[in-house]
C-alpha cells in the first residue's frame, strides 16, 4: 500500500516528505520503545509511535524505516521535523490512537514485523 493511501485512510497531516508519499509500505512496526523498533524493524516499514522527540527520527534513520507516523495527534518540535527532512524520512501525524491505526492497517492487509 502506498504511503499516500495510508495518509488518506488515517486522515493524516504530512509534516515532512510530502514529495515522498509514493513509497510502498507492506509492513508496520509500532511502539513507543525505540529499542523495540530497533529490535524488530527489518527496514522499509512504516514506524508508528507516540514518541515525538528527536530520538524517534534518529531511531527511524538507524532502523532504516520508510516513514514515521505519529499517533494521537502529537506534534513534534520544529527541529524534529527539520531533522526528518534532512534525513529524507516522511513524517505523518493522525489524531487516531495506536490501537485503531494498527487495526485499520491490519484490515487492509498490512502486517507487523516480528
Amino acid at each position: 500500500m502506498m504511503l499516500a493511501e495510508i495518509k488518506d485512510l488515517l486522515k493524516c497531516k504530512v509534516l515532512a516528505g510530502e514529495e515522498d508519499l509514493s513509497v510502498d509500505i507492506s509492513q508496520v512496526v509500532a511502539s513507543d520503545g525505540m529499542s523495540e523498533i530497533l529490535a524488530f524493524a527489518k527496514s522499509k516499514e512504516l514506524m508508528i509511535t507516540g514518541l515525538t522527540n528527536i530520538q524517534s527520527i534518529r531511531t527511524a534513520d538507524i532502523a532504516g524505516v520508510s516513514a514515521v507516523l505519529y499517533c494521537r495527534g502529537k506534534q513534534p518540535d520544529k527541529k524534529v521535523i527539520e531533522f526528518a527532512k534532512q534525513k529524507r524520512i516522511p513524517v505523518l501525524v493522525t489524531e487516531m490512537v495506536m490501537f485503531d491505526i494498527c487495526g485499520i492497517l491490519y484490515n487492509k492487509g498490512l502486517k507487523g514485523v516480528s
Partner: protein, 145 residues
C-alpha cells in the same frame, strides 16, 4: 582480523540527550559512503546507536572506535561511568535500571544490550563498578549479505 582499512575515534558526552545518536548517524554515513552492504551496515549502526544511548544515559563520557577491516566492522565503546554490577542480569531482556527521563526518550526498556548482542557476530562486555564499561562488537562483512 584482516587488513585495517579505516579507523575513526569519536567522543561521547554523557547525559547530552539532544546530541544522543549523532555519532551513530555519522558512522552510518561513513559506512554507507564506503559501500558497506545494507544488512551489515544496519546491524553495525544499531549496535553503535544502542551503545551510544547507553553511554549518554548512564556515563559521564565515552569514546567510540570504529575499525573497518576487509572482513569486519569492529566497534569498541568505552565509557567512564557507574559500571554494571551484574552483567548477566543486565544482559537479560527486560531488565532495566533506567530513570523516567531515559524512558521518556524512548529508551531504557531493557533491550539495549540484547539488541547489541543480537546484531553482532562477536560481542563482549566488561565492566568495573565505579569506573566504567567497555563493549566490543564485531559484525562480519560476509555473513549477512
Amino acid at each position: 582480523m584482516g587488513g585495517e582499512l579505516l579507523r575513526e575515534n569519536f567522543q561521547l558526552q554523557g547525559r547530552n540527550f539532544d546530541k544522543a545518536g549523532e555519532i551513530s548517524s555519522e558512522i552510518k554515513v561513513i559506512l554507507k559512503e564506503l559501500g558497506i552492504a545494507a544488512a551489515c551496515l544496519r546491524r553495525a549502526v544499531i549496535v553503535a546507536f544502542e551503545a551510544e544511548m547507553n553511554v549518554v544515559m548512564y556515563a559521564d563520557r565515552g569514546t567510540v572506535t570504529l575499525v573497518l577491516t576487509d572482513k569486519a566492522i569492529n566497534l569498541e565503546v568505552k565509557d567512564e561511568g557507574p559500571g554494571i554490577p551484574d552483567i548477566d542480569l543486565a544482559m537479560q531482556e527486560g531488565y532495566s535500571t533506567a530513570s523516567d527521563e531515559m524512558r521518556e526518550m524512548g529508551f531504557g526498556f531493557g533491550m539495549g544490550l540484547s539488541n547489541m548482542k543480537k546484531n553482532s557476530d562477536e560481542f563482549c562486555i566488561e565492566s568495573e563498578v565505579g569506573k566504567g564499561t567497555s563493549v566490543f562488537a564485531r559484525i562480519l562483512l560476509d555473513s549477512h549479505a
